[in-house]
């Protein structure tokens, strides 16, 4: 290989100053999105591993129970500490699984939002109607924001147990509750990213950056959105089916 016989006038350029065909840029960006999804898949696998490992190990039978105090508060703790008897002995408190209905509802909402975005993209590519796309993308964003709100509701209802000793008190979480907090938290981060992307699609299409001819970014977002919806559904199936021992 020498300079003379390897360099020729191959004019396919890249980025800063050189023009690149939109299809070339799209192909590269789509590959990048799939690579990020691959990384996300490994993370999801690690999350499933964590959930199943904790459930399977069930250390000291504490997957859904823990030594603590039922329904007590900081004020109760202070009073107990100041009393002559001191803190009573902790008892094993059991927590039940979280509402399967709410878990499924979140998954359903995300699936619906993915369907909306898919529909919006299809409409854009077929009817070239950027204004309609903008409105429908905004609708998808609102729906996924609903999933964010529902996730916050879920986080507030994760069963916790009042744990205390002579030095401190805290609301602590069993293995099951911990795993659910992780899953809901990670899902919520994904939903927030989707909301950002959806809002971006809506604004960009309203400003003419996404049109019936320039629809590649809509497809990129849709690919990631559908992946998040599928992973949410599968994780929901796992956590609802596999929670009791």
């Amino acid at each position: 290989m020498s300079l003379d016989d390897t360099i020729s006038t191959h004019s396919e350029g890249h980025d800063h100053g050189h023009h690149e065909a939109p299809e070339v840029v799209d192909s590269r960006e789509r590959f990048g999105v799939w690579l990020f999804i691959a990384g996300d898949m490994v993370t999801l696998g690690a999350i499933w591993f964590t959930y199943l490992y904790m459930r399977g190990t069930n250390t000291d039978g504490h997957w859904m129970s823990m030594l603590g105090y039922q329904g007590h508060s900081y004020a109760w703790y202070e009073n107990a500490l100041n009393s002559s008897a001191g803190l009573p002995a902790a008892t094993t408190i059991h927590v039940g699984p979280m509402s399967a209905g709410l878990i499924w509802l979140v998954a359903l909402v995300v699936a619906v939002s993915a369907g909306i975005i898919w529909w919006a993209e299809k409409l854009l590519r077929e009817s070239k109607n950027a204004k309609a796309f903008s409105n429908i993308a905004l609708l998808g964003t609102v729906v996924v924001l609903l999933a964010v709100i529902l996730s916050i509701v879920q986080l507030r209802h994760i069963p916790s147990i009042f744990v205390a000793n002579n030095d401190s008190q805290v609301m602590a979480y069993t293995g099951y509750s911990s795993a659910m907090m992780m899953i809901i938290g990670v899902s919520m981060v994904h939903f927030i990213i989707l909301a950002f992307l959806g809002l971006g699609l809506a604004i960009r299409s309203a400003r003419g950056a996404i049109t019936g001819e320039k629809w590649f970014q809509a497809r990129l977002v849709r690919i990631f959105w559908v992946w998040v919806a599928i992973s949410t559904l599968v994780t929901t199936l796992l956590t609802v089916m596999v929670n009791k021992l």
């Binding site: 800063h16 100053g17 590269r28 904790m54 823990m66 602590a172 293995g175 938290g185 950002f196």
Partner: protein, 621 residues
Amino acid sequence: MSTSTIEKTVHKGNASGGGLARRQNFLTGLVGGIIFAWLFWWIARLVGDQSSRSFSDLTATSVTLGWLFGFWLGIGALNGPFRWLIGRDQTREDQLYYAGENLGVSRYWKFTTDHKVVGVQYIVMTMVLLGAGGILAMAIRTNLITPGNHFVNQQVYNSFISMHGMLMILGMIVAVAGPWANFVVPIMVGARDMAFPRLNALSLWTLVAAAALLLTTLAVGGLPVGWVILAPITNQAGVGMDFFAMAIVVFTVSTTVAGVNTLATVVKMRTKGMTFTRLPIFVWGSIIAAALGLYAFPYFLLAEVLQLMDRNFQTSFYVASGGGTGWLQANLFWMMGHPEVYVILLPAVGAIFEIAAVMSRKPVFSYKTAVGGMVALAGLSILVWAHHMFTTGWAPTLGGPFMLTTELISIPTGIFFLVLIATMWRGNVWFRLPTLWVYGFIFDFVIGGVTGIYLSDIPIDNQFHGTMFVTAHFHYVFAGSVLFGAVAALAFWYPKVTGRFLNETMGRISFGLTFIGIQVTFISMFLSGLKGMPRRYSSYSMLFEHTNFITTIGGYTIMAGMLVLLAAVITSWKHGEASGPNPWHANSLEWMVPTPVPLENFDVLPVITEDPYNFAEKVDH
């Protein structure tokens, strides 16, 4: 290329592009990070429950989040996403400004997207990380020079051990892949830049943010729990643990982004005729490591997220009283931990193959076997993690299978030696500085590899686990092999970065000191381990006195070698012997472009007609 064209700095800057980025640089990043760290600290104290046992952890974690957000905001990392959101894409002038056109030296302090600038920034970051880790190594060895020496107290010593380990690991991860997968890989494949230039800059500056968090750990109580940060002992650590865990979370974001970028660049941006079998072998090392990193680092990310949740939100992932288990952390850590060894090693192996072929004027021996060996090594590495847990009692029935998979690793590793030696065998070897470090790599990697086979054997591991033998083994792999690969790559591609050779005399002195230092340090450390000296102890029995004294002297010798190398890098940058664009008479594309390499590498993209190792041209050395 005339030497007079080397690094002429023009300060007039791009005429109209850049927007807000014109006012953003490392300093504004630093200021933004500090302001937002303080702001988040203030909010955490305002809304947090001060009677809660996790209050200090919540405050510390908030500070780390504030730092990251503020640093990203200040350096300009969030400009792109924000502009995308509001539909104001960058103009061509903006892109040229971000690429550092006509910005002179200041482009190295900015969120610059040009892959060559990012490569140089990675060289500096590697030196910072390895330098900081090296200073801690000297403190550790000074403490161990005699039994009962108290150069630092035991808690500080423990923190130094942890921080030395993690700084060196992070430094090694980026030592070859960071500078060279950025600087030369896009040119090698015939591309004008990385696939995602902004993500490239993001990965670099996110690494800077992570390094700052990691180093701050020492100032906020340290990390006296060992570098593998095994639970539940981590529960006893102070807020330094929160800083450390967040540093790892941020670091995994950086490596994931970098890995995606490298893979997309090579898969999607190869020029016409650059088939996969015509790729320079270093490119293979880089992309296999990138793919492996994409698999491995999510485990580390999750392990540290769970750590943060246990500390901040009273979850029970690693707490037995709540249904968790320390083995979960051990599994997640080592599922990352062993593939990570090859994320570190493979780019170095690729660079060594590349240099050996060019300096021997011969093709890489059995190119496809070499690539197959790298793929096999990466594949096997994800099936061996439990050999780190042989003595913990976790899943004893799986010991046999994991021993087998670990021993199988020696087959692709053996292939590397075969390829390397056969490449150089009867070659017209050009005995310059990069070649010297290649020889050092071969020698040290034999010792590191062979001692690893012993440790894969359960009965032997039961004896050696937790001893200095293990420490010596993996230091032969990292310090003896990867570091030598990294310096070989530096000496080889330095002329392409600067237009000048790395000072040969200083480089040879550095090699001599480092090579001898490695043998003195780690052979005596093997002997300490064989006699039963445990790892991580701040003091030891008189039985180990002589070998530890020798190890410390060897450690100082390595440091002296590295300081000479640092001096060579600095002095050669401006005053080294001019090299011209292709000093090694190599055939791969990075040597076909002028030095300094122009902004977009190629005026017209090349078409490749043959592989880069056809050395028909006679070269008089």
